[in-house]
Amino acid sequence: MISVRNIHKSFGAQEVIRGVNFEIARGEVVCIIGPSGSGKSTILRCINGLETYDRGEILVDGQKVDPKARSIIGVRTQVSMVFQRFNLFPHRTALENVMEGPVYVKGVPRAQARREAEALLEKVGLSAKFDSYPAQLSGGQQQRVAIARALAMQPKAILFDEPTSALDPELVGEVLEVMRDVAAEGMTMAVVTHEMSFARAVADRVLFLESGTILEEGPPEQLLRHPSHPRTQDFLHRVINPMD
């Protein structure tokens, strides 16, 4: 479904991604973990063309991701994204945020888009918040609207870029629950996260990224409990026992 082949990317003189390769199969949930600055978010942003890459190739369903070509629109309608800072449209209600893509990008009739948006907001537990503006919602609620907005495009995959990192700790759970439900329905997902419990419970595979390369990958039980690379061991130790 998603093929990332030998991707390189530099910001100025700094090479932030140094030859990354991985595949995500249809229906697979892949969590990408690693220290900040390791290039996790950048890779995600390359997959839907929000960021350009210097070398290598990314394919989504066999189609090359080229941020400068018109074909990028097609890629983006198939691969939605959920952002760390939610990025809802502040001048539109929850319902309008969810309807925006279907109505204006896909040309779905308004009434139908509205019904679907209502169903999606109910699904993420926000049936009472249809007409609320983002500023009137908590961070957790905003992120759930953002997930509904991503689902409304009926994408083949969703990219989650640290979806709970900007949330107060007590709001993290409600977002992870929604993500788990989405995964359970068979959505292909790439999730950049620091939530190891989510990775353990939901991921099919975990990638550990450091300094722009994948140091280690494997099923969550193996990678999170018995990492083989000393850098992975060190990182996991620090995430799980921050006070040590």
Binding site: N48, G49, L50, I73, G74, R76, T77, S80, M81, F83, R85, F86, N87, L88, F89, P90, H91, E100, G101, Y104, V105, K106, A146, R149, A150, M153
Partner: protein, 217 residues
């Protein structure tokens, strides 16, 4: 006072002919400067290097030359290269172009105030540049740009008096002509000043009203 009113009654019909042209010049200059200013702002926003250079260069040049000189240039120099314009046309085009530089800055400030994250979110659901502009940036940028836009419109109204220098018989010019033949400077220029004030006050109130309404939403 009654003397002032009596004399005003004589001069007002003549001054009203000038008011008509003042309003024509203002209205068309506002429209032209808005359209052009929007084009410059979008060119700057496009991040396409040649477009950015053209719009930035244009804005810099226009802002560095007095409007009155720009008017002279269009009205007196253009005919020498074969472009003949009536005084009214030259006035509208001159003011419109001059103020497009200021309008562009108003719009640019509005566009740049929009959080980049939302714009990325809009791209991420497959929106084109045009759609991002129309559905995400414009509705919010207009609210932000409205107060400075209103002020610019008021300035265009007042600066429409500059076209008197290229023989357009708008309010200021009309006042000068009557004053030259009657020597009643006091009455005439008091009237001219009051008329400009009467024209600009509604605009000031409208701007304040819209500002309040938009800031609530």
């Amino acid at each position: 006072m009654s003397d002032f009113l009596a004399k005003s009654a004589t001069y007002l019909p003549l001054l009203m002919e000038g008011v008509y042209l003042t309003l024509v010049v203002t209205l068309f200059s506002v429209v032209l400067s808005t359209l052009l200013g929007f084009v410059w702002a979008v060119m700057t926003w496009s991040r396409v290097p040649p477009l950015v250079s053209i719009s930035r260069g244009f804005i810099t040049i226009i802002r560095g030359i007095p409007i009155i000189v720009q008017l002279f240039y269009i009205y007196f120099v253009m005919p020498e290269i074969g472009l003949n314009l009536t005084a009214l046309q030259a006035g509208i085009i001159g003011l419109g172009i001059a103020y497009s530089a200021y309008q562009a800055e108003n719009f640019r400030a509005g566009i740049e105030a929009i959080d980049k994250g939302q714009i990325e979110a809009a791209y991420s659901i497959g929106m084109t540049d045009a759609l991002v502009m129309r559905r995400v940036i414009m509705p919010q940028a207009i609210r932000i740009a409205l107060p400075p836009y209103g002020n610019t419109v008021i300035m265009i109204l007042k600066d429409s008096s500059l076209v008197s220098t290229i023989t357009v018989a708008e309010l200021t010019r009309q006042g000068q002509l009557i004053a030259a033949s009657t020597f009643d400077n006091m009455t005439i220029f008091t009237l001219v000043a009051l008329i400009y004030l009467a024209l600009s006050l509604p605009l000031t109130f409208l701007t304040q009203h819209l500002e309040r309404r938009f800031s609530k939403a």
